[in-house]
């Protein structure tokens, strides 16, 4: 081959795709979900909700502050190591309430059931909901059932909505991060996402890993007694990376993480290496990230260590001010890289 190729003029460009259809990535919790909310839902529905981007909204009724939230749960398979759709549905909503500093009180649940589901499965799910609600100290106040034709839903979808009480002096929001805040994570990253994936058909890897799905309201109550908390979030779909990006945008500050401080279980690390995932983007269902006043960090941390679901809490980073708010990571070998939101669906790589 002697100068056969003149590359000038060769380009590699694909036309911009039309965005006229909802795709699975819009529900991934990442960038596409963020865009959908900001471009469609908020302009049409969110004008009266100044804190619509927090995990729960706070409404003021005759001087009483109430936290309000809703969450729909779809997961395949319905039962996975460490949990099931029922526990997920209770904990998801309890946690969303707790993340604005509310004491969760009551939940509603709506079932969408595909015909053909066995009563035995439904009973197990409902019993799991009962147990999780008891653990969180909330009650189910109302419910609704719809059954759809075979093929119109995947076995069982559950929506839960919840209400909680917020004390007058509580002010926790994704917009409240402050320079020098210490960033704490309550435990290891990615356990839920990898546990569910390992139970899914077609993925032939075995692990003893269990989902971390858990109600975090008691942990949060203990933390709030121990010191000043500015931000609380549960890094669910889209993982810690996406959650921190949302906080950076809301607070207009930069978050710097230390890679060596990030707690990741060996099994999660191995599965991520194999599949080409980054634990920072894998879902958690029983973890919280807290931005706390630096002077109170040690006290809050020590209370967390004595409380269920907070035993493995560690400091992973801090808040700084830069000209361009973003999330970045100091890598283990001393380099720096930008941490972006999850773009769409998490895609395993080719080789």
């Amino acid at each position: 081959m002697n100068n056969e190729f003149d590359f000038e003029g060769y380009t590699c460009p694909v036309p911009i795709k039309p965005n006229d259809t909802v795709v699975l990535g819009h529900g991934s919790g990442g960038k596409l979900s963020h865009d959908l909310i900001n471009r469609l839902f908020l302009p049409e529905l969110g004008k009266a909700a100044p804190r619509a981007l927090d995990d729960a909204a706070i409404v003021n009724i005759n001087g009483q502050r109430l936290a309000l939230t809703t969450d729909s749960h779809v997961v395949s398979p319905l039962f996975f190591p460490g949990g099931d759709i029922g526990r997920l549905a209770i904990c998801g909503t309890v946690n969303d309430l707790a993340m604005v500093g509310a004491k969760p009180v009551a939940l509603t649940c709506g079932f969408v059931i595909e015909e053909g589901l066995s009563f035995e499965i439904l009973q197990r799910v409902v019993q799991s909901m009962r147990d999780s609600a008891a653990e969180a100290g909330v009650y189910i106040a109302a419910g609704d059932t719809k059954v759809v034709q075979k093929g119109s839903a995947d076995k069982l979808f559950i929506n839960t909505a919840g209400v909680g009480v917020v004390e007058s002096d509580v002010n926790i929001s994704g917009a409240n991060a402050q320079v020098d805040d210490v960033v704490i994570i309550s435990g290891t990253l990615g356990d839920h996402g990898i546990a569910v994936m390992s139970a899914r058909e077609g993925l032939n890897f075995e692990t003893d890993l269990r989902s971390d799905v858990a109600p975090l309201n008691h942990l949060i109550a203990a933390m709030m007694n121990a010191g000043e908390i500015h931000v609380l979030r549960d890094p669910t779909r889209g993982g810690l990376a996406t959650t921190l990006n949302e906080i950076a945008i809301q607070s207009e500050l930069t978050i710097e993480l230390q890679e060596t401080a990030l707690p990741v279980k060996r099994q999660v690390h191995a599965a991520c290496e194999m599949l080409g995932f980054d634990p920072l983007y894998v879902a958690n269902e029983g973890k919280l990230v807290a931005f706390v006043k630096p002077e109170d960090a040690e006290k809050i941390l020590s209370v967390m260590h004595q409380t269920r679901y907070g035993e493995e809490a560690v400091i992973i980073g801090r808040v700084i001010r830069t000209s361009n708010p973003h999330v970045r990571l100091r890598t283990a070998i001393g380099g720096t890289r930008l941490i972006d939101m999850l773009p769409g669906e998490m895609l395993p790589r080719i080789c």
Binding site: M1, N2, N3, E4, F5, D6, F7, E8, G9, Y10, T11, C12, P13, V14, P15, I16, K17, P18, N19, T21, V22, V23, L24, G25, K31, L32, D35, G202, L203, N204, R266, H269, A270, E273, L275, G276, T322, N324, H326, R328, T331, A332, I333, G334, G335, T336, R337, L338, D340, P343, G344, E345, L347, P348, R349, I350, C351
Partner: protein, 365 residues
């Protein structure tokens, strides 16, 4: 984790960086062939830690990036058919064809499924005898052996409703194409360790000799990458142009002979278009005539679909290392991972996506 942690050891990284700093006396331009290496450099922040004189340019070793548009259009045409279950590795789903991508086809009712191995696609074919199951067989020499093995299994088990849409490419012809370009800036190659694990590196001495470039077989962890850089820079400084193996724990000169045998049984070299580069003679693998009954292109008569690429982005120049992603006028603006214009922004291994994810704060977006 064993085999990972020891190759991400900060002390070893520091020592290697210092050694490279001592060896280098003038600027050099190295190309890492593989997109996995590009991502590893940026993922660990290693590119910024190299001594100033060493410039990395990012090679064409991302299978998603170099799969030509018309092959994606053919995939889309097949995936839209109601009688088809279309299976693919995950990254390919987001690569837009002329009008849509596989995600959109799936959203509009097409049965598109992500598989982790082509053998899963074969299982799907066995479980759905009333459907045609097609696997999108793309990739370099790394994915060719499992794909070839799957075709052999399909033949052995007489599975008639399975076929493959083949778009395999090979590394050495692309290296030669880059070196023979009049715009070439590459002075040494970090060869793709995983490709060499399969193919060995016996194909490289003739290239090193002909074009007078050092070629160093290089792995993917920080210590591996720096060993590759160090070996390449040492050769350049000494005026040598040899083939060297800096990834001895995975690569031998001959490579994986059983894997090569399976590939040669099922595939043969063919001319192949590369997105961004154009037609490179004998640079791809296609099914041998005796396996033509498994060829999705003929089974679904999509061979006539020919698509021209429009000149929007500069991915061609990026894939040859002539420009860096931030030099593209649409980088980070019209072109982002959620709305990619060029394939290098799509794949987890693409150079533009790596820059977008890890280095965006440095460019005005």
């Amino acid at each position: 984790m064993k085999y990972v942690d020891e190759y991400r050891d900060p002390a070893q990284v520091k020592a290697l960086l210092e050694e490279i700093g001592k060896v280098v006396t003038r600027p050099w331009t190295l190309m890492e062939i593989c997109g996995g290496q590009t991502h590893a450099f940026l993922h660990h922040g290693l590119d910024d830690m190299l001594p100033g004189g060493i410039e990395l340019v990012h090679g064409p070793g991302c299978p998603v990036c170099v799969t030509p548009l018309e092959q994606i259009d053919r995939a889309l045409a097949i995936a839209k058919r109601p009688d088809v279950i279309f299976t693919s590795y995950g990254d390919m789903l987001r690569v837009p064809g002329s009008t849509v991508d596989l995600f959109n086809v799936r959203a509009k009712g097409g049965d598109v499924r992500v598989v982790y191995s082509p053998l899963e696609a074969l299982k799907i074919a066995q479980a759905n005898p009333e459907k045609q199951v097609v696997f999108f067989a793309i990739g370099f020499e790394t994915t060719a052996p499992p794909n070839a093995m799957t075709v052999l299994q399909a033949q052995k088990q007489n599975i008639k409703n399975f076929s493959v849409l083949v778009s395999h490419v090979c590394v050495p012809p692309a290296m030669e194409a880059i070196l023979s370009s009049k715009h070439n800036r590459v002075q040494a190659f970090l060869a793709a360790g995983h490709v060499c694990a399969v193919m060995g590196y016996h194909e490289y001495p003739v290239i090193a000799e002909k074009y007078k470039v050092p070629i160093v077989v290089t792995g993917f962890e920080p210590v591996d990458l720096l060993r590759g850089v160090l070996a390449a820079v040492k050769q350049l400084e000494a005026g040598k142009a040899e083939v060297e193996n800096a990834y001895g724990r995975a690569v031998t000169f001959e490579g994986n002979l059983p894997a090569q045998k399976v590939v040669n049984t099922v595939f043969q070299p063919v001319d192949r278009k590369w997105r961004g580069i154009g037609m490179i003679p004998m640079s791809g693998l296609g099914l041998r005539p005796e396996f033509s009954s498994f060829d999705a292109e003929t089974r679904f008569s999509v061979g006539e679909i020919i698509t021209q690429e429009s000149p929007l982005c500069i991915a061609g120049e990026i894939l040859q290392g002539l420009k860096k992603p931030p030099q593209c006028s649409v980088f980070g603006k019209e072109c982002t991972p959620t709305s990619p214009i060029g394939a290098p922004m799509v794949s987890a291994e693409g150079a533009c996506s790596a820059y977008y994810r890890y280095h965006r704060e440095e460019v005005s977006v």
